[in-house]
Assembly symmetry: C2
Homo-oligomer: 589 residues x 2
């Protein structure tokens, strides 16, 4: 057992060459064994085992700076930098995060989890190094999947005129989360086929030096190639061919399914009973979305589903993609393009439905503002994972969406409270010609409310679910069940509260709000999103000149990591008891 | 005179070939004459006169769709599509905007003013056309300067697998706003030098077909090249070499100064007395920023100024750039890269100061969140043009910044009320090690307040400028003079109001706020930014459970175009008289 004796990269460097194959086997086994229990990014981590060992044998981290793009492929890196027990000892599996994290180790330069950022960050490290007159190496490790993001291109483009040494390792496993999309992948394929010799070379075209290494799982060859680049005085790309899922047959034979795996049986690769295939998506909402869109496509040839590399979140499995044909487009990891593309689609008479994670929609903020909203394009955006109950990695928090979308003129942002309302809103959005509609797809569980009030239009207005007095509870979207519980709790204290489903996340109907406030002494808002700039603040502002007291409940504007969502809510006083007690106290003042 | 008889592209097509040179002369003269009076993007428009004529002779707009990237180069297009009088008749110079605008003409497909979006939009048009089984041509016209934006790369990358015809005209005039930066410009230079024959070709590398045309001002050659591409069944790049400022010696000899010109003498090209060289920047703040940063750089080698293609807004003229040497970096039009780059700089011990327009900072929303803030990088961001008094083109509105930055955990966003406070905040930010600081550089005029209160730290707390009772006025940053006027107005009605400079735009000190509210019956907030999600709402929420009435004043979340800022403010009741009257009314209730 080599791994147990490695506490720092120096221990990796001191191993004899003949030990490396055994070390790689141990790393690979630990990745599979630990992910089998807690889930993880199995396939991409298996692809970089030898590369990671070679990096730590050639470079001297943390003096030399290694930046892993997206950083979900850093399991081997973590094991080689003092964190092996978190992968070897089942009782410590929750000790480290799935992404690089400076709070864990000085070998993790930055917290990062979104793609395509590493080259720009590395350019900054190089420029600062040159200013300070220092001489360490800077290495960016970027997967082929991350290269379709425009930011990666901006980084490559700027690297070409850095005026200092930078090593860019392109880890080409031929896959993004799903299959790659875009012209650059034809170029990578041509470079692989020609062992780097093709005259068509996007890296060389940008002025970068370039090397190719076919043997991406030959640690000795990787070491030699990297050693050759140590101390380079200019930017150079080392294009390495690896295999996603290498060394574990279930993963290498189905890299898309194994991009992120929920707990599974390590022997067979079969999922544990009840485990879902990705950590972030509610399969109920995914499946019903995909099935309905496909059904509607049959009678509406202008309907087109669009994804940016995460088709499964909206239910577009390989089978559905095939059935949808040209009415489904995956643009790859290119969220900015996705939103501008959708604007063009709408401008030419199609009705696009873009399904995207809240955390990744952040990448298209300006395209939402400048392209989609400024041009009042009639498109539907399904926002997934926008909740404290979505992914809880600090890099992927999804509950900052309401204030983000709340700055967009003309955007209708709907927050359904149940699956029936979600489907009705989706259907309405596709017929709606008055500009873009975004829908906050529920995360916290599938609520059913068959008798929800179905309006003619969702552009304005809300649903008064229960008429009461004294206290009015406005419970937005996912927070609706909590609102119901608050009303019940108030009822137990003798207060007959009003319950409202506000429907619109960023534009409370000011007229209805004022009438409500006139009849109620306390207005309570509850949202599963940050308080700052959110739905509650908008209500508070609209009512602040009046007599009603307004109590807003929401999440903190903070980077929280691997939290328990119920604990997070409780820490903000967001329990039925806490909210009810606050309301009663306000009523008594 | 040909131009006066052109009311639609059909009139351009019906002109005999021998008339074209005369038409181009007229277009060029109209661009210079009208811009001399009202200012404009002179140099880029002069570069595309022949190209625009050729486009309208070959293609049949609006059936064929022509998308101009950034669209500040559409003056000739506007003249050829029924809007010539707006350039020929001085009394009608204000009739059309400087960007494409669907409200003006069916020949303007979209409102657009930010760069690098055209290819993605065009991909959407093509995809929708193919779905609908139609056959029109789609043409995207993109300048070389726009190609450094990552979104343009995402568009090129996706164009390669469109499955339909798309014509991409790369209008290469060798300039961005300032000189180009990045490896792609070496490739364009190599392609120009080899008349398109170099084996290094970034477009071909991405799988796109490619043609080169050196004679970018030979209308007949342009027509022939474009005619050859009509009805193409695949994406093809036509790389055209043009000259920025072509045909007007002052502009062609100094393209950076002439990117956007304020009113000038058309004979000499000399600026009108009192005119500034760009429309968007207060030269006082630019000059003092550049001079101070340069001065501090002399003793602090870790200080580095960063720009994304707009160095002049922070005073970095060609002379200052030369003096700063490696301590100034222009990354080109690549705002996402700029923010991630700055994160890397800070991580390696440098102190970066990024100067950027508010409207373009939108393009880096996710990099602010995921790179800069998540990693608590100690960098300074100077936000320019964040005001109703900034540029008033709908595409470039700058007053959406407070809610945008208000979602960023750990970001300190400061709003100085005067030039002395601005400089003190800038100085403090550079020594500050607690995470990123953004400063909202004043726009509405240079206010001086030498006796402003200088705190130890700007991380929290505010300045009570005047102690009063009953009414408290919180006037943020640029809105401070309006707050002073409100207090004066209230004084005339016998109310001795408190006046506060809140300093922090996104995080009012809740403790101070509560103490203030305890002593005052009415709290008034005033900000030069949108109300939704802004500073005032945050105060309203913090006080909504209490007794004080809160009256928030700010701008509408709306796309307003070419407005008068004083009229806009008045339309929201943001006059000293209006705000004071509201406060008095609230006091009496």
């Amino acid at each position: 057992m080599y791994l147990e004796n490695i506490s720092a990269p120096a221990d990796v460097r001191s191993l004899p060459a003949e030990a490396i194959e055994g070390l790689c086997d141990e790393l690979r086994a630990a990745i599979v064994e630990s992910s089998a229990v807690v889930g993880g990014h199995v396939a991409s981590n298996l692809a970089v085992v030898e590369l990671t060992v070679a990096l730590h044998r050639v470079f001297d981290s943390p003096r030399d700076k290694i930046v892993f793009d997206v950083s979900h492929q850093t399991y081997a890196h973590k094991m080689l930098t003092g964190r092996a027990q978190a992968f070897l000892d089942p009782s410590r599996y929750d000790e480290v995060s799935g992404f690089s994290s400076p709070s864990e180790s000085e070998h993790d330069l930055l917290s990062m989890g979104h793609t395509s950022t590493s080259l720009s960050v590395a350019c900054g490290l190089v420029t600062a190094r040159e200013l300070a007159g220092e001489s360490y190496d800077v290495v960016a490790v970027i997967g082929d999947g991350s290269l379709s993001g425009g930011l990666a291109f901006e980084g490559l483009d700027n690297a070409a005129e850095l005026g200092g040494g930078l090593i860019i390792v392109v880890n080409d496993n031929e896959w993004s989360i799903a299959p790659n999309h875009g012209g650059i992948y034809r170029n990578l394929a041509e470079l692989r086929a020609t062992r780097g010799a093709s005259p068509h070379n996007v890296f060389r075209s940008l002025g970068l030096d370039y090397r190719y290494l076919e043997e991406g799982h030959d640690e000795a060859a990787l070491e030699a190639a990297l050693r050759d680049l140590r101390g380079t005085d200019h930017p150079v790309v080392l294009h390495v061919h690896t295999e996603k899922g290498h060394g574990y047959a279930p993963a290498s034979s189905n890299p898309e399914r194994w991009h992120h795996a929920a707990p599974f049986d390590p022997a067979s690769g079969e999922p544990e009973a009840g485990a879902t295939s990705t950590s972030l998506v509610d399969e109920n909402y995914a499946n019903v979305t995909g099935a309905l869109l496909l059904d509607w496509m049959r009678t509406d040839p202008s309907l087109i589903a669009v994804s940016a590399a995460t088709p499964y979140i909206m239910g577009f499995t390989p089978r559905l993609r095939a059935q949808a044909g040209r009415q489904f487009v995956d643009v790859g990891i290119a969220e900015e393009h996705a939103v501008s593309f959708v604007t063009g689609l709408a401008r030419a008479g199609a009705h696009p439905v873009l399904g995207i994670y809240s955390t990744f929609l952040q990448r298209a903020y300006d395209q939402l503002w400048h392209d989609l909203c400024l041009n009042a394009a009639s498109a539907t955006i399904l926002v997934f994972g926008a909740s404290a109950f979505g992914t809880n990695d600090v890099t992927h928090l999804g509950f900052f969406d309401i204030p983000m979308l709340g700055t967009m003129p003309g955007l209708t942002y709907l927050a359904p409270t149940c699956i029936e309302e979600y489907l009705d809103m989706l259907s309405w959005s596709i017929g709606h010609e008055g500009g873009p509609v975004a829908i906050r797809v529920p995360v916290a569980g599938v609520e059913s409310r068959p008798d929800f009030a179905r309006p003619e239009s969702y552009e304005r207005g809300w649903e008064v679910v229960r008429e009461g007095s004294d206290v009015a509870v406005l419970a937005l979207g996912d927070a609706f069940p909590l609102g119901e519980a608050v009303v019940d709790e108030l009822g137990r204290s003798g207060v007959d509260a009003t319950l409202v489903n506000p429907r619109l996340a960023t534009a409370p109907d000011e007229g209805s709000l004022a009438r409500l406030a006139a009849d109620h002494r306390v207005v309570v808002t509850i949202e599963d999103g940050i308080l700052d700039g959110g739905f509650g603040e908008r209500c508070a502002q609209a009512l602040a000149a009046g007599d009603a007291r307004v109590l807003c409940h929401g999440l903190p504007r903070a980077f929280v990591d691997r939290y328990d969502p119920r604990d997070l809510l409780a820490s903000c006083g967001m329990t039925a008891e806490g909210i009810a007690a606050d309301a009663l106290a306000a009523l008594k003042r």
